[in-house]
């Protein structure tokens, strides 16, 4: 999953944010869409503890923007690197 490449050729590095419910995940998705932050909805990787089936994956470099956008609006369960 972390093997995708940027056009420049270097490996992309991802973080995933997990929420307590699918509703919460989809509220966060709406915020990221509105803020034009690149993301992907993916099934929660099995090695991570899961409260709901899906989570949001984003580029590591966007973490500050992601946290600022969704902080205080949706309760975050956990954040992990992939």
């Amino acid at each position: 999953m972390s093997g995708e490449k940027f056009p420049g050729g270097q490996k992309a590095s991802y973080r995933v944010v997990l929420f307590y419910s699918t509703s919460g995940t989809l509220v966060a998705e709406k915020i990221l869409k509105r803020e034009r932050i690149e993301y992907k909805l993916i099934p929660v990787p099995r090695h991570l503890s899961s409260d709901c089936g899906i989570c949001l994956r984003f580029l590591r470099e966007d973490e500050g923007r992601v946290m600022e956008a969704i902080g205080g609006k949706v309760e975050i369960q956990d954040i992990h690197s992939l």
Binding site: S23, V27, K30, G53
Partner: protein, 419 residues
């Protein structure tokens, strides 16, 4: 009128099959005046959204990670967001869905009250409030019923006077389903808030028909139905739950939520804490579209439209000799629900004539609110209830008034009431 599809209004097939009344065959349309029971017809957006879900999505929301499941979950979220926008709710996840307002009220009432608690209600409540409370009364909950005036009006000062040390909850319907009279919601909310009492509103008749803001009105719990003025399908409704109340509000049911699956205990976060089992996603697709319809028409415009038709109906009925009118007789003080009787006839006789002779559909009797009929003085026979909707036309109101006038005239002339 462009907003609805009138195919559903064709009456001819049904009346031919019944073959009971030759007059019925002449009229090709019915006049539906039972919107307080459920609104009809629905905007076409409602059933198109339901068809779209059934045909193209169909999956279980929040149960799997695949795209159709996510799409279904988005539909449910959109419905929450639409309801939240309409009612001034900041966090859409604090809207939990149920089958109807009755289930939402049962959740609120049974979830909050414990033996020894005191609860205040009005004498205009529907049985969806009365019956759960009377059952709890047998288990030690004390109920104070505030008597409303014969017009169905509540004196908000009486709420303050009724509050005691163990008063836990105030439950009030925003508007009576029998006479339409509105209660001064913001005043009761302010009193409840100042005294630290939880305020639960039964908005079955008003959500979508009258402006509501849960913050301005200091509402802690608000039960709504999807199939009346929100123009969704039957089988949808819900409860708004103020932040922090989940600690004291026990769920009505527990079960699978698609979250916290490794635990055998119910999750404590919203909406999952109160939404167990596969939801009515097809219904919520329709509800979402129905609420968007309300938002697009604007609630102040809907209210003004219904208020004008209500005043027309009240004024017309008042001028008919032999008609006994109930309620405030002032459209500014009520929603589009009008109750009356014709002296010398029972409500069901009047309703039968309205249907058979004039193709007007409405509801006689007690409307699941015996206490309200006791308050307005129409118990046990009940009333004839006319409830126009946003899609009812002014022309239809004139047809109804003419029909009631004819039926009443036959009684005063001493003729046989029966057709």
């Amino acid at each position: 009128m462009g907003l609805i599809d009138n195919e559903g209004l064709q009456w001819s097939n049904l009346s031919r099959k019944q073959g009971s009344n030759p007059n019925a065959m002449k009229g090709s349309r019915v006049i539906y005046l039972d919107n307080a029971a459920t609104s009809w017809p629905k905007p076409r957006e409602t059933w198109r959204a339901m068809e779209n879900f059934m045909r193209h999505i169909g999956a279980n929301p929040g149960r799997s990670g695949h795209r159709l499941s996510i799409e279904a979950a988005r539909i449910v979220l959109e419905a929450r967001m639409a309801v939240a926008e309409l009612l001034g709710i900041e966090d859409p996840l604090r809207v939990v869905f149920s089958r109807n307002a009755t289930e939402a009220l049962n959740l609120a009432i049974n979830g909050i009250l414990r033996p020894g608690d005191h609860v205040i209600i009005s004498s205009m409540e529907h049985n969806s409030v009365m019956r759960p409370l009377r059952a709890l009364e047998k288990r030690g909950v004390e109920i104070k019923v505030l008597a409303c005036s014969p017009e169905g009006e509540l004196n908000p000062q009486e709420v303050e006077q009724a509050i005691r040390g163990n008063t836990r909850l105030i439950v009030m319907n925003h508007a009576s389903n029998v006479v339409g009279t509105l209660i001064p919601l913001a005043k009761v909310g302010e009193t409840a808030c100042r005294n630290g009492v939880i305020f639960c509103v039964d908005a079955a008749q008003t959500a979508g028909a009258y402006p509501i803001d849960v913050e301005d009105m200091k509402i802690d719990l608000l039960a709504f139905t999807g199939h009346k003025s929100l123009y969704g399908p039957q089988g949808t409704g819900g409860l708004y739950i103020r932040e922090g109340l989940e600690g004291v509000l026990e769920p009505l049911m527990r079960g699978g939520t698609g979250s916290r699956s490794e635990f055998q205990e119910q999750p404590d976060f919203l909406p999952d804490r109160y939404e167990s089992g596969t939801p009515n996603t097809v219904g919520l697709a329709g509800l979402s579209a129905g609420v968007r319809f309300v938002l697009s028409q604007r609630i102040v415009q809907i209210r003004a439209n219904e208020e004008a038709k209500t005043q027309l109906l009240i004024g017309g009925l008042e001028s008919i000799s032999g008609v006994v009118l109930y309620g405030s007789r002032d459209a500014r003080k009520q929603i589009a629900v009008v109750s009356f009787n014709i002296a010398g006839l029972t409500p069901s006789e009047v309703v039968m004539e309205l249907e058979e002779e004039f193709q007007i559909l409405c509801r006689p009797g007690l409307h699941c609110a015996p206490a309200a009929h006791q308050t307005i003085g129409s118990f046990p026979q009940g009333t004839v209830r006319l409830s126009p909707g946003y899609l009812t036309t002014e022309e239809e109101i004139h047809v109804i008034l003419e029909a009631v006038g004819k039926i009443a005239a036959r009684v005063t002339e001493g003729g046989v009431a029966h057709v």
